[in-house]
Assembly symmetry: D2
Homo-oligomer: 256 residues x 4
């Protein structure tokens, strides 16, 4: 089967994107390996720490770096960080985050659209983190984003798909890959998102806060693949208000 | 990792049990292969159909047959079917189903306990389908069952884990493998059951009603493995009422 | 409208039954008043405490006492408590509780059926607390119960309608008033139970643990009435996958 | 108790706002009466139909008219409709709706903020329908709105509180009355919204599609009051993973 995730012309086999913010560098390597991840986010401050711990050296060959604009509170700051990231060799992908709410860390859709427009024109492959509002998603498409990354729940909350009804609408109405970007707390939730037709899932805290990080990375990898396969296979119907024998129960025993 | 499902002294690598009732024989083979299934249920009537379509010939080497007592409306009928199954060479495992409600196909816990007691004494490895009632589960343990198989939702409904709160109690309180046996409609639901510490999941309708049966079997296999891995890894905490930065957001941009 | 709850030939206007276990006697009076309650449970030990605090003197005229068999671990003990309750003047109603699980306080359906049979023959109006198992409910009907009281969630948990799918089945299949008896934690949950066609709701902990007990009693009263009215009115349809203008949106503005 | 809803300096006893779009004029009167409603929306086209059916004549004395901008696809159109409404005598309240998505009827937050700013400066009491995005809600506050009206689910869907997690955030963070404006399908959902601290609920389709419209109006009235009372009373705690006796179960029977 040749089912690939295509982002800005680049093809990926893996549909699990790793947020690296909560991991040590060595841990990041382990998660990449066990989760068979091909794309890893990177906060700029970690990229250019200088000294002996430059994260770029820790990222294995073949992994696509997805620098994020973490820390940006408006479009202008985000644009500045994105340009800096490209300058220091992080490539053209940029995960756009514009956040000025420090309690719920909810994205500012309006500033995000503005930054997307500027960065897309400069050749960036913009992957914007957003609040799943259909109108904002349409504007992100028009602004030149290569994917739309709605949140499932507040960042780091592990609360799951609280925005399910609206992500479903995005999947139906938006012609870009939809990637659920925050809130996914368990593999079953990642699986469910994929069953709904989401193109990929981004994960960070759920893996970072697990008891065994490498094993949880594997679990997410499999759950994402399972959900994708189920979406492609086509889910069965749900019965309402009764049961239906799965065994060939054409009659009770005596009548045999 | 040597994580095995142990049922009556027998070890299994797979934690996805296939209900075969809704499949043609050739289809059963395909699902066994793609789902990497090691245990398949069998309704007695299909076992001894005679003529060219004897299902036993279709079951690959190494697969454990789990004959069920489908059609039994009380303990006596179930016992009769179980003995017949053993006589015709289906082995010692028996999936006990006692159902006399034809609309919701809900199991009769009381008759099920009675039949379990009789069959366990005769050396059967009894796996009873049951309504997830803690008291009944305790009686099944005392009666000699090798596992307890609570329903998630009415058979064939694909409604999922409607009994979640009570399956969680069984997992905590019962010292036998808990296997969710009916209602699971999507891989994400199988994954969630496994995350809760269920030992295995049984699936039939969800695969049989999928668009692509083989692919859905693969999806269930992966989802079950993902849920198991997550359970073993230890799920992370869920935040209430706020977010938590996954990136090392020690300050906003200016303050760097 | 002459919509009454009929239990064993007795008519009630109120569909909110008060569990009194967690209240002081004075508080019980307040809740009865603000909740406009007509039936109140009573644990035997509180009835015959002797001395100055005899709860029977605190129950206002016109309130039906529903003694419960709290403390009974099997049918025999329950029968004994019920007879004692009648002897000391608590009337013919008996709320049957048989519980021997001290962590989740889940009822033993089997012993409950046995006790119901004995007590119904002795003329008691038996209202059995039960785990919502359709087969057990049918046996309670045959044993002569005047209502069936399934739990929504473990007693005192305030977790709500965790057994929703199965209470719905009881409402459909059982020809006695179904009364949700444990777990209801918020007025909205009581309202939802009533919308589903449940005949009454029993409440104790949700009111007892509220900040303002009298006000919460009023809230439950109204929520139960709202749910009943909605059930009688007939709920509207739920749309799937789109919206439908509520305003007469026959065209956008320009086209007027 | 002197608990009032205050909108733009006007006080209301009722916290159920009626959307009138789906009702005949006579029916609107019935719902106002049985739901004890004090505020009713009005689409402009219905206000000035001329001829014998002028809805303004049908609205009872003392009811506040809340004209909406239904049909507006951008801020400019909405402003135009609002001014027209005031000119023909609909007063200063305006329910702002800016929608250009014809399938899900989702509001355009950005245009809504723009229109709010203009209309608030002209002295309107602006009540904007919005997608529950915290950043947009903050801008509506700054723009001078007198309340914020997030949707629970797509208009007319009766799907309930699909945006629960985010409405909870608005209740916590926004210092204006939060009014849930679309999607509420059952009284229990209205009750739950009110329990969360929402200031009022708007209802239209759920009542219009009920079997008995007047009775459903009454049900919603009571459910809204129940939820408000529960919010003011303070909800009790939810137990996790066990039960807690509501009766004074200090010991089992023998130990008495």
């Amino acid at each position: 089967m040749n089912d690939r995730l295509v982002l800005g012309g680049h093809e990926f086999q893996s549909r699990l994107i790793l947020g690296s913010g909560k991991f040590s560098l060595a841990m990041t390597q382990a998660v990449i390996k066990h989760g068979e991840v091909e794309m890893v986010t990177l906060a700029l401050r970690r990229a250019n720490v200088g000294g002996e711990e430059n994260i770029l050296e820790y990222i294995p060959e073949g992994i696509t770096i997805l620098p994020n604009t973490s820390g940006a509170r408006n479009a202008e700051e985000a644009v500045r960080i994105a340009r800096l990231a490209r300058e220091i060799g992080c490539g053209s992908f940029i995960k756009l985050e514009v956040i000025h709410d420090s309690k719920y860390l909810l994205p500012d859709n309006y500033e995000t659209v503005k930054a997307t427009e500027i960065l897309a024109k400069e050749g960036f492959l913009v992957m914007p983190y957003m609040y799943p509002d259909l109108n904002a998603a349409r504007e992100l498409v028009n602004a030149g984003a290569v994917s739309v990354m709605p949140l499932g729940a507040p960042i780091g909350s592990n609360k799951g798909l609280c925005t399910k009804e609206f992500i479903r609408i995005l999947v139906e109405e938006i012609d870009l890959p939809i990637i659920v970007d925050a809130g996914i707390g368990r593999p079953s939730q990642a699986c469910e998102a994929m069953e709904m037709g989401v193109a990929a899932v981004m994960c960070n805290t759920a893996i970072a806060t697990a008891g065994d990080v490498a094993q949880m990375a594997r679990a997410f990898k499999q759950a994402v693949e399972a959900g994708r396969a189920a979406y492609l296979a086509g889910l069965g119907r749900v019965l309402d208000g009764r049961a239906e024998a799965s065994s060939p129960l054409t009659g009770f025993l005596e009548e045999c």
